[in-house]
């Protein structure tokens, strides 16, 4: 655990009534394996949700369904008012509105940091190169690595790469950000720099869904913590209650395992 933030620094962030993501009775199978079972989740604009749970419980699959990296088989997922169907146009639109940060960064190794950040704005949004570069530099400054913009990803540390990955997603000016264990491939000393960036983002009111086991982060910024097990949402609560007063046995067991060390 890092001491990034404590509950009392939790900023006063506004949550609107507008719905950003709505998942209704969603099920997904890998072959015969029922990986997500009857998922119901509503995320409002400006909300920050932390998803935790044991490995293999379906957390990644859930957030990957939101931008259609995985396809669900039943139920509805509506993102920003658009229902996810097999219509390619819808999928591409949703993907350009939803930013994603991966556990292993997935930067493009053959492009410079700046090119990584300007690629999608130029080729998906049709932003002129000059303008895309200016925006990219703004976001690189925001994640505090503007001086690395001409380097290649392989020349950066893990923490720096992950911050570039966040900047790359932000350059598309997304309305929703998905994070899939953004700090779990990092050395301990680099976790803080990435979490700080994410906290700043949360303070600006970004709608965020974040799979993470960084409980300090959850307490600092989350409106809600969701606990998943065996493909189901087992418990859902605001962070203080969730940590101090877990209801289900599974949650208690899980919390005791990750907090007791």
């Amino acid at each position: 655990m890092t001491d990034t933030a404590t509950a009392d620094t939790a900023p006063l962030m506004q949550v609107s009534d507008e719905i950003a993501i709505e998942i209704e009775a969603m099920n997904k199978w890998y072959g015969n394996f029922h990986v997500l079972r009857d998922i119901n989740l509503t995320v409002r604009r400006g909300e920050r949700i932390v998803i935790c749970g044991p490995s293999g419980s379906g957390k990644s699959t859930l957030i990957r369904c939101i931008n259609r990296l995985e396809e669900h088989q039943s139920g509805r997922i509506t993102v920003d008012g658009t229902e996810l169907s097999s219509d390619i146009k819808n999928i591409d639109r949703i993907r350009s509105e939803v930013g994603m940060v991966f556990q292993h960064f997935n930067l493009f190794p053959h492009l410079t940091i700046l090119e990584n950040c300007t690629l999608a704005p130029i080729w998906v949004r049709g932003v002129p190169r000059r303008e895309a570069e200016e925006t990219a530099m703004q976001f690189l400054e925001k994640v505090r690595i503007p001086e690395q913009s001409q380097k290649y990803p392989g020349q950066l540390s893990g923490g720096q790469q992950q911050r570039v990955a966040i900047a790359r997603a932000l350059c598309m000016k997304p309305r929703i950000m998905l994070f899939d264990e953004p700090t779990s491939a990092l050395d301990p000393e680099m976790i803080k720099e990435v979490l700080d960036t994410m906290i700043e983002l949360a303070e600006e009111g970004m709608t965020m869904l974040c799979v993470t086991h960084e409980m300090g982060f959850a307490q600092a910024v989350a409106n809600r913590v969701i606990f998943m097990d065996q493909g189901q949402i087992v418990e859902e609560n605001e962070p203080r209650e969730f940590f101090s007063n877990p209801q289900s046995e599974r949650t208690k067991l899980f919390l005791s395992q990750i907090l007791d060390h």
Binding site: S96, H104, N106, H110, L119, A120, V124, Y152, G154, A169
Partner: protein, 456 residues
């Protein structure tokens, strides 16, 4: 924490030191590299002996070579006079006498400047693509160069290449405007429809009325060909034409090889992508194509090109043999390249595809910008390997009646004066091929080195 009994605490941090001196000098090097063990020493001695034997035979033979002679027997007389009877000596005179033929086949002597100029245009056009230090501006030649080179080599009316270029420009216009509005796939379909619908029937109609079609290019682009013929009547602008039968020698190998290399790469990329497409039809077609083409020897395909295609083509079309061979070589190399590139695609981490998807890039953009640059980089050694193999395989065209350097060496031997000469010709031909293939190999190493910047 309690201190264990055998505890240790460093009070001073260590400064870095220079690495220990390595003993140098040639003797040390020899010892380390050639005589480090008994086995190594024995191998070294044996190798040196073999090298010495080969050099002792070849070097005097080559150095004693006779450059000025009129025939093989003449060569032998001069050699016996100079060095005494039986002393080995090459007869380089055959190269001296026939090098033009080995390079240009039966291309008219007065027109040698044309293939040479075409080669110069080719080099100037490809250099900016091969060496990024050169200004990008030089790339403007690329769309025009193939037509200029074609015209220089085969001659004829300038209107033929100009109109072929215009025809392609129209197709490209259709492709890009439809592609922009309705997606890349629709663009391809519209482009192909434009090619077939506009150019074939309209061209054929012209043909029927005017009877102007004559060259194979007219068969490919009848409309352009026919308008070209009309323009030529109104505004003559031709240079002497050279027919394919007059092409030969290294020039022929080079044309077939280079055309095959340039055309097979895009084909290989499309086949590799097709093979991993999620559309079943595309996948099955790509796999069948690759397996069928790869499973049959190139020589069989060349015979197919030279004999069988006549049955399938409309009667009266004079579809140039060289063009058919280029198409076959391209298809053959394309199938091999597809497998090489597929390896590169498979080697990319899944995260690259996902990151491209997550940013909202569509299929063709993510392939072009993210996946292919990396997959092709991984595949460079295999791609160049295929190119080299293909370039050498162009010597097989002699079996379908084209006079490549090996075919010419046979016809040179058929001449009374050079009957029975082998080594000198083969060495010369081998050296020509070696220069080109070795060049490709070195370039691929340079390219790999240059692209190694994104070390992960």
């Amino acid at each position: 924490m309690t201190e264990p009994a055998t505890g240790f605490v460093r009070t001073e941090m260590l400064d870095p030191l220079a690495p220990p001196e390595r003993a140098g000098g040639p003797l040390v090097w020899l010892r380390a590299n050639l005589f480090s063990s008994w086995l190594n020493a024995i191998l070294t001695v044996i190798s040196l002996y073999v090298v010495w034997r080969v050099l002792a035979t070849v070097v005097p033979w080559a150095a004693n070579g006779i450059w000025d002679a009129t025939s093989l027997s003449n060569c032998r007389e001069i050699r016996d006079e100079l060095y005494g009877p039986g002393v080995p000596g090459a007869c380089w005179a055959v190269i001296h006498d026939r090098w033009r033929q080995l390079l240009f086949g039966f291309y008219p002597k007065a027109l040698y400047w044309r293939p040479i100029l075409a080669l110069a245009i080719f080099v100037v056009t490809v250099l900016p693509f091969l060496v990024p230090a050169l200004p990008r501006r030089l790339m403007w030649m690329a769309p025009v160069a193939p037509f200029a080179i074609f015209w220089l080599l085969w001659g004829g009316s300038v209107w033929t290449p100009v109109l072929a270029m215009a025809g392609l420009a129209v197709i490209w216009g259709v492709w890009s405007s439809v592609g922009d509005r309705h997606g890349a796939f629709a663009g391809w379909v519209a482009g192909i429809v434009a090619l077939v619908v506009i150019f074939l029937p309209v061209g054929r109609a012209f043909d029927a009325v005017l009877g102007t079609g004559e060259t194979w290019l007219d068969a490919l682009f009848p409309l352009a060909g026919n308008i070209g013929a009309l323009l030529e009547r109104a505004l003559p602008a031709s240079i002497q034409s050279v027919i394919t039968r007059e092409f030969g020698g290294f020039e022929l190998s080079f044309i077939i090889g280079v055309a095959g290399i340039i055309l097979s790469l895009p084909l290989g990329i499309l086949l590799a992508l097709g093979r991993q497409s999620h559309l079943l039809v595309v996948r099955v077609l790509s796999v069948s194509f690759i397996e069928i083409i790869r499973g049959v020897p190139l020589i069989v395909w060349l015979f197919t090109a030279s004999l069988l295609l006549n049955y399938f083509l409309p009667p009266g079309t004079n579809f140039d043999l060289m063009l058919r061979v280029i198409i076959m070589v391209t298809i053959f190399a394309g199938a091999y390249l597809a497998e090489v590139i597929r390896g590169g695609l498979a080697a990319l981490p899944k995260g690259q595809y996902e990151a491209a998807d997550a940013l909202g890039l569509d299929y063709w953009k993510s392939m072009r910008l993210i996946i292919l640059p990396q997959a092709l980089k991984i595949s460079i050694p295999g791609i160049v390997n295929t190119f080299i193999a293909m370039f050498k395989d162009t010597t097989l065209v002699m079996f379908v009646g084209l006079l490549d350097p090996l075919g010419l060496s046979n016809s040179i031997r058929a001449d009374q004066s050079w009957n029975g000469i082998y080594w000198e010709l083969f060495l010369f031909i081998g050296a020509l091929f070696f220069v080109v293939c070795f060049g490709m190999s070195r370039y691929s190493m340079y390219l790999e080195h240059r692209l190694a910047r994104d070390r992960r």
